[in-house]
């Protein structure tokens, strides 16, 4: 599904991803762990095609096609979707305006989206300006709802568990579970690991200083991090 080959990326004049290699198979659910500032979000943004991230070398292959030069909208169209860690506040564009457009392109029933909005307890946000005045949890739920209308083949989920209270986490977790059907691939980024219990991850990777330094069984890596923190990863000599 996704193959990242030796990706080195610069943003604001600084190297933020350094020779990153990562493969995600069809239907595979990947947990991407790492401390704040390790490059996880930058990797998600680069896969999505954010123009602020300049690819210096390497490539991104999606279903056998080199998408390194594709625009974000083209990437979205071929099945890549991203839940932003911090989506921008967009004045004047209502959540429903965006969902209606996406659902129309994808041929998705709006009533189904409205039902999902109810499940997520965000029906009242549909007619509000995107993310304007939304709480942290509401922003994540709105992002989820948008992704539900996208139905991506590869879901990039960036820190959906930060800024969400315990009760909301249940709704978020179960909706996320609904998105991540067996044939959907996903990279789920987390630095807390809270979301991991809702995802049946196949593999976990650890990112430090713009590099993927370790991979393995999600539960054992999470246990290690919970016990010893990311500091232990920094001193760990293992690498892929």
């Amino acid at each position: 599904m996704l193959e990242i080959r030796d990706l080195t990326v610069e943003a604001s004049g600084r190297i933020i991803l350094d020779s990153v290699k990562l493969t995600v198979r069809d239907g595979e659910k990947v947990l991407l762990l790492g401390p704040n500032g390790s490059g996880k979000s930058s990797l998600m943004q680069t896969i999505m095609g954010n123009p602020s991230y300049k690819i210096l070398s390497g490539s991104i292959m999606f279903n056998g096609r080199d998408i390194t030069g594709l625009s974000p909208e083209e990437r979205a169209r071929i099945g890549i979707g991203l839940i932003f860690q911090i989506p921008p506040k967009v004045k004047g564009v209502r959540l429903m305006d965006l969902i209606e457009r996406i659902a129309k392109m994808r041929g998705i029933d709006l009533d189904e989206i409205r039902r999902k909005a109810e499940e997520l307890r965000i029906s009242h946000l549909l007619e509000r300006d995107l993310n304007v005045g939304f709480s942290g949890g509401e922003m994540k739920k709105a992002e989820l709802l948008i992704m539900l209308s996208q139905r991506p083949k590869l879901a990039l989920i960036d820190e959906i568990d930060s800024g969400v209270d315990v009760e909301s986490m249940e709704h978020v977790g179960s909706s996320l579970n609904g998105i991540l059907s067996s044939d959907t691939s996903a990279i789920v980024v987390t630095h807390t690991g809270y979301i991991s219990k809702y995802i049946n991850a196949d593999i976990a990777y650890v990112m430090l200083n713009g590099r993927i330094v370790c991979s393995g069984d999600p539960n054992s890596i999470l246990d290690n991090i919970r016990r010893e923190g990311f500091e232990a990863c920094m001193s760990c000599k293992r690498a892929i």
């Binding site: 999505m48 602020s52 909208e73 921008p88 967009v90 305006d97 965006l98 457009r101 996406i102």
Partner: protein
Amino acid sequence: MQKSYLMSILDKKAPYGIDIDVKKFIPAEALKLDEERLKEIGIDPDYSGPGTYYQVDSSVVKRASNVSGLKVTSFEELNDPELSWKLISPDQDKYTAAAALYGKGGYVVVVDEGVKVEKPVQTCLFMSAPGSLQAPHNIIIAKDNSEVSVFTGCTIMKEVVGLHVGITEFYVGRNARVNFLMIHSWNPDAHVRPRTAAIVEEGGQFVYHYVNISPVSSLQTYPKVRLVGRNARAHLSSVIVGKGNSNVDVGSEVSLEAPGTRAEIISRNVAMDRSTIFARARIIARAEGRGHTECMGLMLSEEANIVTIPELESSVKEAELTHEAAVGKLKEEEIYYLTSKGIERRDAISMLVRGFMRVDVELPPVLRKQVEFATAMAAGL
């Protein structure tokens, strides 16, 4: 006023807007009504609401009112000097002088005391004769405790040169309410100089929303509202899209002349291509009242210009006047966000432009739909 005196004013440059030689334009009888052009601005040629008025060039082609307590007629039929040129003086500038000398037609809407007209009255001023002057005199009278909504669309045939000077006087009685929506769609050869004034009595409300959606050679207007009765309110908003080489100068003025009056002036100005937009707003406090202006400009071109000129003037200690103004461009971060969800870049920009133009207007839902339609057209959606 004497004809010779008004004739002498025709050569004097007006204080705002680029100077137009009004003598080059002459009134013409109706040439052609292009219904497709009307539909482009949301005017329904088959509308069967409470009242309608259609004028093509200088000819009144249709007028009707079918609700008791509502009269929709033409200026000539009203023929009441007591109700015309009271709020606007014929010698105000060369354009009012031209209208007083050569103007023809104009809609008159009179709502009787206590009558609340549910659906909007629809009026339309259409220009088709090349080189013509269209100068209708419109009068809207909402008597005490009445309510009326008026949707008016003004447009012109493509590639026709013309000068439009619409004189509009509003009389909003005690506790009456007038909702007025005006949508303009001109062409790159048209010159437009509407002259508008309103007077609002005690407890009256005047809501005025203006959308300009297409290129124009030059457009200048500066509606003036006087809130003369206690607790009278005015809300004026405008959405201006400067396209092509348009030179647009749009302002609004409200004077607070009685205690408890409130005014709000909001404008959204989008400058594209090589357009120039002047956005003016002035609130004058002559009594204890509150006023706020908000002038926002969005630059979509390196070759365009926006000038915002908010003015607050007070001669009353207790009056509260505020203003807010900003000019900027679209945020790349927001464009990227929408494109990352699969929206084409061009559509993402249109969505953001439309979002910028969205103003909370206290208009009835049916008129808000018209506003949405017009702003979508203006944003190129």
